[in-house]
């Protein structure tokens, strides 16, 4: 076995494992022997900067809010496209202006559709 070329690697691996696990085991043993755990209700309660926590920490948000996120994202990205358009506006031809108008109109149409569907009403 000792003649195996990987034998030294195995020894090093075990040493590395021990190096990592020994402090953990020592800490666990120390806590068991010397330091008794004394949990209580206040200690185990949720940390809220010293205030009493109200309700559960696992708060849920309505998944339907993803529509707001999408609409926000669309108009956010639109602003990125509008900036170079505005900067190069004076040097643009009529075709480029029309293409940009169509793009903006499409987005406005989408907004009108979302509005008509009642998505913008906070439920």
């Amino acid at each position: 076995m000792a003649s195996n070329p990987y034998f030294s690697l195995a020894v090093l691996f075990l040493a590395a494992l021990g190096f990592g696990l020994a402090p953990l085991a020592l800490a666990w043993l120390w806590a068991r022997v010397f330091s008794p755990a004394k949990p209580n209700e206040i200690k185990n309660s949720i940390y809220e900067c010293g205030l009493e926590s109200k309700g559960d920490a696992w708060v849920q948000f309505r998944s339907a809010y993803y529509l707001y996120a999408i609409i926000f994202l669309i108009f956010d990205v639109e602003a990125v496209f509008l900036l170079p358009f505005a900067v190069a506006f004076t040097g643009l031809g009529a075709a480029a202006c029309a293409a940009m108008l169509v793009f903006v109109l499409m987005l406005i149409e989408g907004l009108a559709w979302a509005w008509a569907k009642g998505i913008l009403t906070w439920a």
């Binding site: 010397f34 330091s35 008794p36 004394k38 209580n40 209700e41 206040i42 200690k43 309660s45 940390y47 900067c49 010293g50 205030l51 009493e52």
Partner: protein, 203 residues
Amino acid sequence: MVDEGLKIELGKQGVFVTTIEELYNWGRRNSIWPMQFGLACCAIEMIATTMARYDLARFGAEVFRPSPRQADLMIISGTVTKKMAPQVVRLYNQMAEPRYVIAMGACAISGGPFKQGYNVLKGIDRYIPVDVHIPGCPPRPEALIQAFIALQEKIDGQHLTGEGRPRHLDAEAQGEFPVPEQGEHDLEPTSNKGVWPIPVVIR
């Protein structure tokens, strides 16, 4: 226990001896992590203590933790109002053992210049056990550093077993300190009798 004289003699010969207790206390006293928590103007001095000029890092206590779960030391740095006292006591309760308290400044130890105020707690030691009191208004950073050294000396003198062992090593010692509530005129109860026996005035 190793005899102190023998230990010094062995040290001269290049032999280093120690006990588990010493090693444990050495580790504990050099890694007191305070809680990031300031109440009033004393907190400014506390911040100054941690900065380069006074450099609390020399004592292993520069790691201010934003959560009581990871903190060892609570520095009551400033006036504790009666509105704030329940929060302070609750935070102390939420810290993991072993935990220490330094009451910094005149307000934290007695109410200080605001002692007569209707809304000021007359010393945080009415509710939680305080290890080191520092007077001053506010105490200079050197005073806070001295309080640290005093706390380190206190930790150094603690034994793992026996009657005088610290609370966190004693299964019987209480770990919960009741949080006061806002009463009609004052906090209820007005003090924790187990921590702060009402002083008898001798006339």
